[in-house]
Symmetry: C2
Subunit: 351 residues, 2 copies
DNA sequence: CTGAAAGCGCTTACAG
DNA sequence: CTGAAAGCGCTTACAG
């Protein structure tokens, strides 16, 4: 029951055709920018479109033409800073290209659950962007049927999990390398690492960059502390590391982890950066306002999302295929949480 | 050009019909759970569906039936904790109901820009959920054509901006009231308020709850400090408030704002909670791990998102219309950032 | 319980 | 430059 009495059915191309005194195929030509339409005819059609408030039915377009101007982002997380920012970037670029953007959340890395989500995303039509920063995402990227257009946002360019699919990445390895070198240059004998969950069983790019910096400096290589994504995990890891008086520098897999580590050090009575230096990863919005403010590496997640969409767009519209490429250089942001070790420079002279 | 030689066209109901030796209408009946199908026929169809890996084409379903199992969330923001959590709740509930979820970002509150985004969302088919916590969202909710199914997530139940549309809300007023009372009970003479941008020109629910608590206690009512959504705004506001030695308690419109205030107080050499107490709003994931940890009011944003979807689902499927209702009681979480004022209880005895 | 027809709103060849 | 036909993959009455 409709209160207003009757629901106006939206105008179709036939309605427009009638109003303009042409056939509906001509209307189709006009809305598709087909060149062979007489200017006066075009103007009449355009006027009718305007008058009737006609909007082309996206569903009918999709069914008839076979292509859906839509992209679905498949992700294990929507609230963490990095993930949310990638989604944001995709949405921006998609909006600019008049694409609809859908979102599917991967609740677990379980094979059948992942397959179901991929199917759901495929049912939406259009292309897929899979954020493969974690086991669920990696599984999803691997489970996408070969005939579906997909772009992966992956952790490392070394081993694209999706086979020959296009992908984008931020240079996590370089970022971790830079942050570790920064801490070593301050005079720390070595740098401990609190790791986010790895996307695969292999060593993550962040871990690899950290290790490389240690090796090049001839510094001891402590075991990375495996943790979670949030502050709680960082807190637990920080409590453990705080017990060891030899620990003077800690690199964290992301800023949330670092926030938890900062809290743990405080609770353990170890000052930052006086006794221990801490560095994060991502440069989340709050990191500059923590006490102490957090030294971190800024990553361009939004740019990453935009690049992923651009790549997918190219595939979908069969334009020139863009080669996979990193979006932006990571940028070290030095703040209050990092400084020289307590006893001054403890590090062995460089080899 | 396809590397695998040929692209398998997905199976249609006609393919299934042929394989099962029935007409395609019968297949339609089976996939729609229509009762009048002979069990043996049903089994044959089901077997064919399984064998061919048939999935019903969502686009064709939408075009033929007129209903699209989809919801688009319209929001001004996707990265802030509250917004992201609402989106998360919608996605959870939508996934459970096999609905696709789309997202549209309102880049500005400008009338034509908002209208364009609403149109885009409408083009997707299905229902709309508009997060109307800010001017852009409120404008969008108001711009949704009457014939479109929509649910608003609004700030206050007092004046639903969408007219007679269904809506959900969290009880922000009650939450602010509780937090303010907590601070007053500790003995503060009054509580200052750093406000998030209001969704309308009228006083926000949070502001109203804060003011009500002050009035009831006969406490002075300082002017609220208008701020932004992020830590930077809180920092600026905090710097200003820190200059006034009479300020001993600050309530913030959200936890990010509180984080900035905390930083500003630190920079100004005023200890928390020794000299100034601070309380936030939302209980974001990091708030428990700040130093000092943040007293705040927990709001069930995810539940709000789920409730919004449930309401929309009811409208779309013409089930019983659920009355608008608050989702969950706000919960005060007392942590380290709030305590008695410096000189002990300064507050006048209650009237 | 099951089949044949018409139609959802478009596009894509095919005529002229 | 423009119109008439067929079809995208389904659903919805209408027959039987």
């Amino acid at each position: 029951m409709n209160v207003t009495g009757h629901t106006r059915r939206p105008a179709s191309i036939r309605d427009v055709a009638t109003a303009a005194g042409v056939s509906y195929q001509t209307v189709s030509r006009v809305i598709n920018g087909h060149p062979s339409v007489k200017p006066t005819t075009r103007d009449r059609v355009l006027a009718a479109i305007d008058e009737l408030g006609f909007r082309r039915n996206a569903t009918a377009l999709a069914l008839a033409s076979g292509r859906t101007r839509a992209v679905t982002v498949l992700t294990a997380n929507t609230t963490h800073y990095g993930y949310a920012s990638i989604l944001r970037g995709v949405e921006e670029a998609a909006r600019a290209a008049s694409y609809a953007v859908g979102i599917g959340v991967l609740e677990s890395a379980d094979e059948t659950a992942v397959a179901a989500e991929v199917q759901r995303a495929a049912d939406a039509g259009g292309g897929l962007i899979v954020i493969a920063y974690d086991p669920a995402g990696v599984a999803a990227l691997g489970a996408v049927p070969a005939e579906l257009p997909v772009v992966g946002v992956v952790e490392t360019p070394a081993s694209p999990p999706g086979g020959d699919r296009p992908w984008v990445w931020a240079d996590d390895r370089e970022a971790a390398y830079q942050a570790t070198r920064h801490l070593l240059a301050l005079g720390h004998e070595t740098v401990h690492y609190v790791a986010i969950p790895s996307s695969t069983r292999r060593t993550s790019a962040r871990t690899a960059g950290w290790r490389q910096a240690l090796r090049e400096a001839g510094a001891p290589e402590p075991r990375p502390v495996q943790s979670s994504w949030g502050p709680a995990g960082g807190h637990a890891a920080g409590l453990r590391l705080a017990k060891d008086p030899a620990v003077t520098a800690i690199l964290c897999g992301n800023d949330d982890l670092a926030l938890g580590v900062l809290r743990a050090l405080h609770e353990s009575g170890r000052s930052v950066p006086g006794e221990v230096s801490v560095a994060g990863f991502d440069d989340a919005p709050h990191s500059a306002y923590l006490t102490p403010s957090l030294t971190t590496v800024r990553l361009d997640f939004t740019g990453l999302g935009r690049a992923a969409f651009a790549l997918l767009h190219g595939v979908l519209e069969e334009a020139v295929q863009v080669a996979p490429h990193p979006v932006s250089e990571p940028e070290l942001v030095v703040r209050e949480s990092s400084g020289p070790p307590p006893g001054g420079v403890q590090r062995r002279p460089p080899a």
